[in-house]
Amino acid sequence: MIRMLSLTAMLAVATPVVAQDPAHMPGEEAVDPYSVADANAGAQPFAGTEMFDAFHGQAGIDRIVDRMLDRSAADPRTAGIFVATDMIRLRRTLKEQFCYVLGGPCAYTGRSMKDAHDDIGLQPADMGALVEHLQTAMEEEGVPFHTQNRFLAKLAPMRRDIVTR
């Protein structure tokens, strides 16, 4: 039995997940098949739960992501980005990503930063605006400024994959 399980696990590693990612939620649009891996999150998670706790756990992360995206979608500078975006999927995967990177008990099931942003055509100034909305959302959640910066330092290098224009 154990042998069979490990065989299945090996197969799972060897072959990309063909259909949707396992956490695919009702209401989400289909995306092209891709390999699911935490590495897609684009950053090594913090060790321990200090950061996850400082963000008030999953509930805090959920509020931060929702507020960040609400603000971004309402901001004339960035609203255009989200017109053709599956917001249900984006909210879910972003929450997973933040939880994973912050050391929370989550797996990241979304695509890599490169694959997720390839066709969006984000400009450098868009990146700045999105970071500002994230900063405001973290501030509203009461995450201390210097803790915010530790998290932003993990996300910052993703700019190379996020900004494509």
């Binding site: 450098p124 100034a125 868009d126 210097h146 910066n149 910052a156 290098p157």
Partner: protein, 293 residues
């Protein structure tokens, strides 16, 4: 009054720049995060107060342009030092700046035999190019943002400069600047090497009877991000000592820069500018206002 006029001219130039921005394709403003474009140095370049950074001034990212005007006032025991200028940052790649500095000897002018209120006026024309790196976003690399720049300075008091042993009333300096934000630590670090033979950054001319060669001098800044719109820190700047009539000392300051928003910032500092033209311990309040985008 004259300064006020100059400042308003600077702001007029700025508003022209804002209009011009609309005519430039692919240009957006305000892409950078608050304070990450630096403030305006006394020489007009983007950076701290007395140290030039590798950052390109203004809030334009690679897809935008930025520009600003500044006015700075340093109240010293025996002198008054004022600068005003404008600078543009193009696509986070090139920075062009111009500043007028006035070193007002006030009552000290009479004691120096120059006359009451004698003022050295110097214009500084600067250009800077970012070579590589991103001070803010490259958080997974040690590589800082690196820029090279040149400053051409023209002082209007050639006769007096020659009389005190200075070799020239104008000079050109080149520098290499490296700037890195250690975001996880909320710490900004900058180091710049400048090849210069300027006396008191050119306010007392260039080269002198004791030394006329350009030599490498260092200027450094550290800054700690207190909040999104406040940074506090310190700066240090070494200088040559070319004139035998008066010892020249290094500069030092402790500063706080507050960005009201992306259009307006105020920098206050305590600046220790050492001995200037035989008058020692020139320490005082530094106030700088910057407006731009």
């Amino acid at each position: 009054m004259r300064h006020l006029l100059k400042l308003s001219l600077a702001f007029m130039a700025l508003s022209t720049a804002v209009q011009a921005q609309n005519l430039i394709p692919d240009s957006r403003s305000g892409g950078k995060l608050l304070l990450t474009g630096g403030v305006s140095t006394v020489e007009g370049s983007g950076g701290g107060g007395i140290a030039t950074w590798a950052t390109i001034t203004g809030y334009g990212e690679e897809d935008g342009i930025g520009a600003n005007a500044h006015a700075t006032f340093v109240d010293l025991p025996d002198y008054e030092f004022r600068t005003a200028g404008v600078a543009v940052g193009l696509w986070d790649r090139v920075e062009l700046s111009i500043a007028r500095q006035e070193f007002d000897t006030g009552n000290t002018g009479a004691l120096l035999g120059l006359g009451q209120g004698f003022t050295f006026t110097q214009d500084v024309f600067g250009a800077k190019v970012r070579l590589t790196g991103d001070a803010v976003y490259d958080q997974d690399r040690w590589m800082p943002q690196i820029a090279v720049g040149v400053q051409h300075k023209v002082n209007d008091q050639g006769v007096i400069i020659a009389a005190v042993g200075g070799r020239d009333h104008e000079g050109t300096e080149v520098y290499v600047a490296a700037t890195k934000l250690f975001l996880a630590q909320s710490l900004l670090v900058n180091g710049t090497v400048r090849w210069t033979n300027a006396n008191q950054t050119g306010l007392l001319g260039f080269g002198g009877d004791a030394n006329d060669e350009h030599e490498a001098q260092f200027e450094g800044s550290v800054g700690w991000l207190v909040s999104r719109n406040l940074v506090i820190g310190a700066e240090y700047r070494t200088k040559p000592d070319n004139l035998s009539f008066a010892e020249e000392e290094d500069w030092f300051d402790l500063y706080a820069a507050w960005a009201v928003n992306k259009h307006f910032s105020i920098t206050a500092a305590w600046a220790a500018l050492g001995s200037i033209a035989t008058f020692e311990d020139q320490r005082g309040l530094y106030i700088s206002l910057q407006a731009g985008f």
